[in-house]
């Protein structure tokens, strides 16, 4: 773990330089452990692929004191038990009006639509991070055969529930939003409910399988 400072009130904890499940599992453990402490001086924790960004309250603690606490607390983190991730099945309407980029993904990969659907829905994905917009899951790892680059010019709007892919990731637009990923389908599952804790259906580490409908 490599600690560095992110502005006056941020700590960036870097766990590695590659995107892989092992690194992400370590980050998840660190993040859940830290969260379980319910510290007043922690405003937010943002876990992602390679790092955990901690926003601390610099009115309550200093960077030096906070780092000292982090190092001491996480010394024996390997023995910490964390809950198992949940598994989810997400039904998806692939292609047609729901997947404006299906044609592009087919031509880019040289596969036909059935093959793209078969490949996309045959993998159990891991949620590496949730963010960008509330409830948006960054999931991996996509099969290389359906790799597709991001749009050069992002769309100004895609509908809520749009399922997209970019490079070796796949994700679901939890709200209508601007989007740079290739959209291949749409789900009706509500990913974020601001009226009910824990608000986001998918949490970091959860497992997701897409089911074609």
């Amino acid at each position: 773990m490599d600690y560095s400072r992110y502005g006056e009130d941020g700590v960036r904890v870097l766990f590695g330089n590659t995107i892989d499940l092992e690194t992400n599992r370590e980050i998840r453990k660190f993040y859940l452990f830290l969260k379980s402490l319910h510290r007043q001086d922690i405003i937010d924790i943002i876990p992602s692929f390679k790092s955990c960004l901690i926003h601390f309250n610099n009115r309550l603690t200093s960077y030096d004191d906070f780092i000292a606490f982090l190092k001491q607390k996480t010394e024996n983190i390997s023995s910490v038990q964390i809950p198992e991730p949940k598994s989810h099945e997400i039904p998806v309407h692939y292609g047609g009006e729901y997947g404006p980029d299906m044609e592009f993904v087919c031509s880019y990969s040289g596969l036909n639509e059935e093959e793209v659907i078969e490949i996309h829905s045959s993998i159990v994905y891991t949620v590496f991070a949730v963010g960008f917009i509330p409830g948006f899951p960054y999931m991996g790892t996509l099969d290389r055969r359906i790799y597709a680059p991001r749009l050069e010019t992002p769309r100004l709007k895609v509908p809520e529930g749009s399922v997209g892919l970019a490079q070796l990731q796949t994700g679901i637009y939890s709200f209508e939003s601007p989007a740079g990923w290739r959209i291949i389908g749409k789900t009706n599952v509500q990913l974020f409910d601001a009226t009910k804790k824990p608000y986001s259906l998918l949490q970091m580490g959860d497992l997701v399988r897409f089911v074609p409908i």
Binding site: S48, G131, F132, S174, Y199
Partner: protein, 313 residues
């Protein structure tokens, strides 16, 4: 109750922000000028964290249907209660039926209008702030429009309070923003970095009209990436005030609506200067000044002291 007669260009319910759920992508959506926001609640005698209105544009007009103390902070404006001109950063009493009108913004961009008593708006995930993209919080998750009515719980008239003139922040452009190095500072050539912080005529940027509450885009000379560096990063957490540089080399100030970003983070606006971001309007000139962490912390302590000096002991 208050009733919006003219919502100016854009009016939004905001508060101190929504914290604790950035891990599932919930952004802060806080008032962009926290200094002006916090002092506004002090002026009208509300508790910390009460909702207020964040307004952009001229001719904001609101009718007050009760006796309450009001105030305006943030951008420099000319304002009236009925026919009487009022001074921003000083509280004033409004009678039942009074109309408060902000005629013109003179300097800065966003101003804040507050009332004694609690506005009856939606508190969602521990905050009154509006999340525009997800349409929750504040007034039904949307900007205010003409005819909207908001109830005021326990409005009251409190004694006059004011913010001393020397405490009111300057907002004139060019804006000089002090910044700290970000995690991808080294992604850029030393020529690009040197030019960025030179503070000469060729090193300023102009605020783009494509800016919004998510990010402020800048126009000017593109920053050059070192040849060996990728033009994007693996998506990672960001905090308000992060300066991202996409492949086109033009910096973007990220405000309070994103938790994760995928572009190189060249730097972060020092906390002491983050409120200033609320006042960058399209076509304004912006300069960057690189500072170290010790200087940033000193400036922040200074700002906090200034804030508390204003409050009654």
């Amino acid at each position: 109750m208050i009733e919006i007669i003219n919502s100016a260009w854009f009016t939004l319910v905001v508060d101190g922000g929504r914290n604790g759920y950035a891990d599932v992508g919930v952004p802060g959506s806080a008032a962009l000028d926290q200094f002006a926001y916090n002092l506004l609640n002090f002026l009208v005698g509300n508790e910390n964290g009460a909702p207020v209105l964040e307004v952009m544009g001229n001719e904001f007009t609101v009718k007050v249907n009760c006796e309450t103390t009001c105030a305006i902070t943030g951008a420099q404006v000319t304002a009236y209660v009925d026919d009487k001109q009022i001074t921003p950063w000083v509280s004033f009493a409004a009678r039942t039926g009074s109309t408060i009108r902000v005629k013109q913004v003179l300097e800065g961009f966003r101003y804040y209008v507050g009332f004694s008593g609690l506005m009856n708006v939606d508190r969602v995930i521990d905050s009154y702030s509006t999340n525009l993209e997800c349409r929750f919080g504040g007034f039904r998750g949307r900007p205010l429009i003409k005819g909207d009515r908001i109830g005021l719980k326990e409005p009251k008239v409190v004694g006059e309070r004011f913010v001393p003139e020397e405490v009111i922040p300057a907002m004139e452009q060019p804006h000089v923003l002090r910044v700290l190095e970000g995690p991808e500072f080294h992604y850029f050539t030393s020529e690009a970095i040197n030019r960025l912080f030179e503070k000469k005529d060729h090193s300023w940027y102009i605020v783009s009209t494509k800016s919004n509450r998510t990010g402020i885009r800048l126009e000017g000379k593109p920053l050059i990436f070192r040849k060996e560096m990728d033009k994007s990063i693996t998506s990672e957490g960001i905090l308000p005030g992060t300066i991202q540089v996409p492949g086109d080399g033009l910096p973007i100030f990220m405000l309070n609506e994103r938790t994760i970003g995928g572009y190189a983070r060249i730097g972060m606006v020092a906390k002491a200067d983050q409120d200033r971001l609320a006042h960058l309007k399209p076509k304004d000139k912006v300069f960057f000044q690189l500072i170290g962490i010790d200087e940033a912390e000193r400036l922040w302590r200074q700002k906090i002291e200034l804030f508390y000096r204003t409050l009654p002991q």
